[in-house]
């Protein structure tokens, strides 16, 4: 029944598109991955992506369903984007489900917080697939080459975390039996609970920059922990008997900006955001719900350059908890570097790429080499690897057992 529904939905998209003389594009892709350690399949996924769009003088639309088929014969239909565009002389309005991308960083999300992330496969999906669409009204007002953008999101969408049973799910360890109260984990859609963002963008010959602000929800729920103590009847000493954990999303105010400029053949990029009132876990016994509320700074500096025909890019990223005390579980500074090298050859048919996240605080890394060969303008094969190394408590090292080799076959139309 689900398959029939999906076929019907796709048929409606295609018929609607044809009726409007819309543009059709998309791809069909097979993605197969094998774990180095066990030889087990880490993923076997077939994807059909259809992009139906039309841009007129005064109105446009886009419908972008993606159908994922997994080895278990399960089907997952996602509407990445469904929106209408209205074009006016000095401003545009976009209404509907849409992906919104902000900032100048590559592979790091600092001011790019409007569209939440799907982290069910950690950071491995392509960056256009890792973001989920949000129901929003977006207004862009143009002043020459500058843009003032305002966004209203009536319904909060949280980050999608890996689910139990997934190789990307990390079982949390508790010092005592834990029970969860999920009653506060979702946000009721309402005017009061909506989110708002604003951004000013300038694109000039000297420098491009963005200034942004947001009244949002923390995309990751805060774990409110209440401890239950009991008395050991033999020693008469109190001990931790249980934990009641209540996941709850909290409001966040943030302000930030980004820039990029060219200096002597180098492109220098920067991005930063200040988060007001973020919650962190603490071991302070006097803290309410084992939480500490601190401001948080997240920033990046990056450099893009070429050596011969090789395109290189590197970024330094720092996350800082302000007014830090040693009882906070997270480190005060979390430093990460990224590195990208890309080389295109054979008349732009063969592409070599290496992208890496390097954790400086935890001494771990995710290394992602890949080779792509374009057989023709529509068909390509990609052979790649995701290698997790380093400290098993680190952000990347914790997935050491998930290092894999994979292949993607893609037909674009």
């Amino acid at each position: 029944m689900k398959k029939i529904s999906i076929i019907l939905i796709f048929s409606v998209f295609i018929l609607t598109g044809q009726a409007q003389n819309a543009d059709f594009s998309g791809f069909v892709r097979n993605y197969t991955g094998v774990l180095y350690k066990t030889g087990d399949l880490s993923i076997l996924q077939n994807t059909f992506n259809l992009d139906v769009s039309k841009t007129g003088q005064k109105i446009g639309f886009k419908v972008n369903p993606m159908l994922y088929h997994y080895w278990s014969d399960s089907l997952d239909l996602r509407l990445r984007e469904v929106y209408l565009d209205l074009y006016f002389k000095n401003f545009d309005v976009r209404v509907g489900k849409q992906q919104i991308v902000w900032g100048k960083a590559d592979g790091v999300f600092i001011t790019d917080v409007v569209s939440p992330l799907n982290l069910e496969e950690f950071l491995l999906p392509d960056f256009d697939e890792i973001r989920t669409g949000v129901e929003a009204v977006k207004l862009d007002y143009y002043i020459g080459n500058n843009t003032l953008e305002a966004i209203w999101i009536p319904q909060f969408t949280p980050t999608e975390a890996p689910k139990p049973g997934s190789i990307w799910y990390i079982q949390p360890h508790f010092p005592a039996p834990a029970t969860f109260d999920w009653s506060k984990s979702s946000i009721t859609p309402s005017l009061k609970n909506s989110e708002a963002f604003v951004k000013y963008t300038a694109l000039t010959s000297a420098v491009d920059f963005e200034i942004m602000g947001g009244y949002t929800w923390d995309a990751n729920p805060t774990m409110h922990v209440q401890k239950e103590f009991a008395v050991n009847l033999q020693t008469h000493q109190p001990y931790l008997a249980g934990l009641n954990i209540t996941p709850e999303h909290h409001r966040l105010y943030l302000a930030g900006g980004s820039f990029s400029t060219q200096i002597a053949g180098f492109v220098l990029r920067g991005e930063g955001a200040y988060y007001n009132g973020k919650y962190f876990q603490t071991e302070d016994p006097t803290a309410v719900d084992a939480l500490s509320q601190n401001d948080f700074l997240h920033y990046l500096l990056g450099l893009d350059f070429n050596i011969g025909k090789v395109k290189l890019s590197t970024q330094f990223v720092q996350e800082t908890i302000l007014n830090y005390n040693d009882l906070i579980v997270n480190p005060e500074f979390q430093n990460t570097m990224t590195f990208l090298a890309r080389y295109d050859t054979q008349d732009d048919l063969l592409h070599f790429e290496l992208f890496s996240y390097i954790g400086l605080t935890d001494t771990d890394a995710l290394i992602r080499p890949k080779i792509t060969y374009d057989f023709d303008d529509s068909f390509s094969i990609l052979l790649g690897s995701n290698i997790f190394v380093g400290d098993r408590d680190g952000r990347f090292g914790q997935y050491q057992d998930n290092s894999m080799i994979y292949m993607k076959l893609k037909y674009s139309f």
Partner: protein
């Protein structure tokens, strides 16, 4: 009778002096005439590039481009329409007459983000073709030392043959030789020599036509002699001085498309 003699002498002198003016054109002056040839204040066209490899296999790239030039700043925006995997991509270049490095941005629809890119990669080949980004731009005459080698007739067209040697020793070509139509100052053929001084590529202008009083080259073939690979570049739907607004060359249009 005396007046007639004087007039005759003046005419002869004028003719001689006219010939001298023509003969005295230096390599630099010829290239400057090519560079300063009127191209209109703005131009739009559809560009098709056909890439043909040594085995004869073809790949086709299509884009729509808009260009405006106010004398000190040239703005160009390209919207890629084919093949499918680059459809929706746009590229914008601002080029300055005062020698300031170009500003370049690219919009990748999959990433939904405009990214400033370094203009330091002018030696890169454009979309896998045999044209580098530098080949597609207007190289300022002051960047090379020019020498008129000879005059020659190519396909019935009388041409100047000018050798240009770059002042920058690290430039990707050691020299170029250009055949320039004496009447129109349009290049009809150009040879590119690699860093070792060996012939690398030959470019032929296959056709041109007059639009709004401006001569526009509408078909060019670039052949890489070392790789036996060639690219045919064709322009269609060319419009000159159609009044393209400044708002065409903005972030808004890069993201919205054609």
């Amino acid at each position: 009778m005396k007046n007639l003699k004087i007039t005759s002498v003046l005419i002869i002198l004028a003719m001689i002096s006219g010939f001298n003016v023509s003969a005295q054109l230096t390599g630099l002056q010829i290239i400057e005439k090519v560079y300063n040839r009127p191209t209109g204040n703005d131009q739009s066209s559809n560009l098709t590039m056909t890439l043909i490899n040594a085995q004869g296999k073809q790949r086709v790239r299509k884009l729509t481009q808009y260009l405006t030039d106010n004398g000190t700043l040239e703005k160009k925006i390209m919207f890629f329409t084919a093949p499918a995997d680059v459809k929706g991509t746009s590229f914008m270049n601002w080029s300055y007459s005062n020698g300031k490095p170009d500003d370049q941005w690219i919009y990748l629809p999959a990433l939904k983000k405009i990214k400033r890119i370094s203009s330091d990669s002018k030696g890169d080949y454009f979309m896998g073709s045999d044209f580098t980004y530098d080949d597609l731009g207007d190289r300022h005459p002051s960047q090379d030392t020019h020498k008129l080698l000879r005059e020659e007739t190519v396909n019935g067209v009388k041409c100047y043959v000018v050798q240009s040697i770059p002042k920058d020793e690290d430039y990707m070509y050691s020299k170029t030789i250009t055949w320039i139509n004496k009447a129109t100052f349009i290049g009809v053929k150009k040879e590119f020599y690699d860093e070792d001084g060996d012939l690398l590529k030959i470019m032929h202008v296959n056709s041109s036509k007059k639009i709004n009083g401006i001569i526009v080259v509408t078909k060019i073939t670039m052949q890489n002699k070392q790789k036996n690979h060639k690219t045919i570049m064709s322009l269609s739907n060319v419009k000159i001085n159609s009044g393209i607004p400044e708002t065409k060359f903005t972030e808004r249009m890069m993201m919205r498309g054609i």
